[in-house]
């Protein structure tokens, strides 16, 4: 096996996979995409200059792969819809929950669903900051944004998620309240 691959796999594979999984919410697709990341990385590894850390470099490639995937997979119409932030998520097919999530309590599952309704930018920031626990500056490096853009996007995302969580809870509550 390629030794570069071996090293990258050991150090970063699950991180990259997780990032892509939360971006696309589909395990098989994430498997394909993480392979695409390797292809790009192995091609460019010699040119990695060490200007950024290896980790942020890899995440930035994973981000590009995810974005390219969105552009490619969805017809321009759907891409446009998403851009315009229609609540396209409601129409979208429900993916079966992966087992790791199925075991979680209801609020976490709901949070997982709500993530879908964030914009792609918000989603990226949320995943990098909270799931991967990158710092603001690392996140900025991955996304090639300024730190202040990271901060504001993060802030808006949290606000949006809060709203979404509250809204979905309202939907759930009534039926629960009927019972007692």
């Amino acid at each position: 096996m390629d030794s570069v691959f071996d090293i990258l796999y050991q150090k970063y594979h699950q991180d990259l996979y997780r990032f892509l999984f939360y971006m696309v919410k589909n395990k098989e697709l994430a498997e394909d995409l993480v392979q695409e990341v390797y292809i790009r990385v192995l091609k460019a590894y010699d040119r990695f200059e060490g200007k950024s850390s290896e980790k942020t470099w890899l995440f930035s490639i994973a981000k590009n792969v995810a974005i390219d995937h969105f552009r490619k997979q969805k017809g321009w119409k759907q891409w446009l819809l998403e851009k315009l932030d229609f609540s396209a998520a409601q129409v979208r097919d429900q993916m079966p929950l992966p087992e790791e999530l199925a075991q979680q309590k209801e609020t976490i599952q709901r949070m997982y669903e709500c993530l879908d309704q964030c914009t792609v930018d918000q989603k990226m920031v949320i995943i990098l900051r909270y799931i991967h626990e990158l710092s603001i500056s690392e996140t900025a490096e991955v996304l090639s944004w300024t730190e202040s853009k990271v901060k504001t996007t993060q802030h808006r995302a949290i606000k949006a998620l809060k709203k979404l969580m509250e809204a979905t809870e309202k939907e759930v509550m009534p039926s629960e309240k009927v019972r007692p």
């Binding site: 096996m1 997780r18 395990k27 390797y38 949070m111 997982y112 909270y130 799931i131 626990e133 969580m165």
Partner: protein, 410 residues
């Protein structure tokens, strides 16, 4: 509303609690997929030139009557009528008197393009031998002795390993047989360059697994860097690693040999040449390829097979696997001895896959496998091979049988 007043802090905590989803595949599996995918990605890159090449060929065929009129103004319309047939002979003529390297290059490009559209090879030569395998298989041996010689092709770019089957008179050592047979090789008849017997005295020391090569003072092996690397390469590839680990050189008894750029060379360690990819080499006017390894070694058989989808123009070698194989191949797996090649459901191997199959088998052998098995292969058989069976690997590439006059005595 009241209960749902989540603080932003709580939202953040919920996000942090999202489970750590993991990829359960093994790194080996991922790497394997990666190898397959890596070339698939490149598809558009080479598809374009090969489509262009085929288009150019079709154009060439259409235009060849007028083209030949061009090059040879004396011959006009009558000649033109014989069309493609003529273009072919014309090409041969041209190549024969191609003295300078420029026209040789042109000619090489020519023949490359030409064989890019495979069915065409029928035109070049009788299609009779098409479905004969080229390698030596265990059932061929049948009392013969097996020797391998690396013989350069006319441009001395590559050495073609030829597996020679020869009867022994009995009693010779392999080395004696190796030396005797060297004199009976018919390189030129085989479309290769006359190289053997070597202009040198050879001797073999069995205990130390060394061969001693003594050349005369006026030997030509050192003139020009091409012939010098050829000399070393040919020796190294002709002497079997199982028997020879080192070559010692001398010039009329004096230690060392003068090899142009390298200077004085006293010895050469033979490496165990393994893990190569095999390509097609079409000698002049021959429909059947020689199946030839390139220098590079690869870590996995998957990598080697991928390489075999591409021509090696700089060496005059052709891809040994059809482009279609890229899509038909689902996966490669193996145990210690058998390489399993899984093909897509409903895929169908092309009619001229026989030599590609041989190239796969030779590559597999080079990676240390003992057999290959094809899963989902259609049709059921190719040439003499029953694809529903496990296929034992060949003994060596490029079979030539010598029933020479010298051996005819028995």
């Amino acid at each position: 509303m009241k209960k749902s007043d989540l603080s932003e802090k709580q939202i953040e905590n919920l996000l942090r609690d999202l489970p750590k989803v993991t990829d359960k595949r093994s790194p080996e599996e991922i790497y394997q997929n990666l190898s397959v995918k890596r070339t698939r990605k490149r598809l558009p890159g080479w598809l374009v030139p090969s489509v262009a090449a085929s288009a150019a060929l079709i154009l060439l065929l259409i235009l060849s009557p007028s083209l030949s009129g061009w090059q040879n103004s004396a011959s006009n319309s009558e000649k033109a009528e014989s069309g493609a047939e003529l273009a072919k002979t014309e090409m041969k003529e041209e190549s024969q008197d191609a003295g300078d390297s420029v026209s040789r290059n042109n000619q090489m490009k020519f023949s490359n393009d030409d064989s890019a559209v495979e069915p065409n090879s029928e035109m070049q030569d009788g299609p009779l031998e098409q479905d004969q395998p080229t390698a030596v298989y265990s059932e061929d041996i049948n009392g013969y002795n097996v020797l391998t010689y690396a013989i350069p092709e006319p441009n001395a770019q590559i050495a073609v390993p030829i597996t020679v089957l020869v009867h022994s008179k009995g009693g010779e050592t392999w080395f004696e047989l190796f030396e005797q047979t060297m004199k009976t090789l018919q390189e030129e008849k085989w479309g290769l360059a006359d190289y053997f017997p070597l202009n040198a005295q050879l001797s073999y020391i069995e205990e130390t697994e060394e061969v001693h090569v003594d050349v005369p003072a006026d030997h030509q092996y050192g003139s020009g860097s091409a012939s010098e690397t050829a000399f070393e390469r040919i020796l190294a590839q002709s002497l079997p690693y199982e028997r020879v680990k080192k070559i010692n050189f001398s010039t009329e008894g004096q230690k060392g040999i003068e090899l142009g750029n390298t200077g004085n060379v006293t010895e050469l360690q033979i490496k165990d040449r393994k893990r190569h990819a095999y390509y097609f080499y079409y000698p002049e006017g021959n429909a059947n390829p020689y199946i030839v390894p390139a220098e590079e070694s690869y870590d996995t058989v998957a990598e080697a097979l991928q390489q075999m989808l591409k021509d090696r123009k700089e060496l005059g070698l052709k891809a040994s696997l059809p482009e279609q194989f890229r899509d038909d191949l689902v996966s490669l797996s193996h145990d210690e001895k058998v390489l399993l090649i899984k093909l897509a459901d409903g895929s169908r191997l092309p009619g001229d896959f026989l030599h590609s199959l041989e190239a796969i088998m030779l590559t597999a052998k080079n990676f240390g496998f003992e057999a290959v098995r094809l899963e989902n292969a259609a049709p059921d058989s190719i040439g003499p091979f029953d694809l529903s069976e496990v296929l034992p690997l060949p003994v060596g590439p490029n079979k030539k049988i010598i029933e020479g006059e010298k051996e005819v005595g028995e």
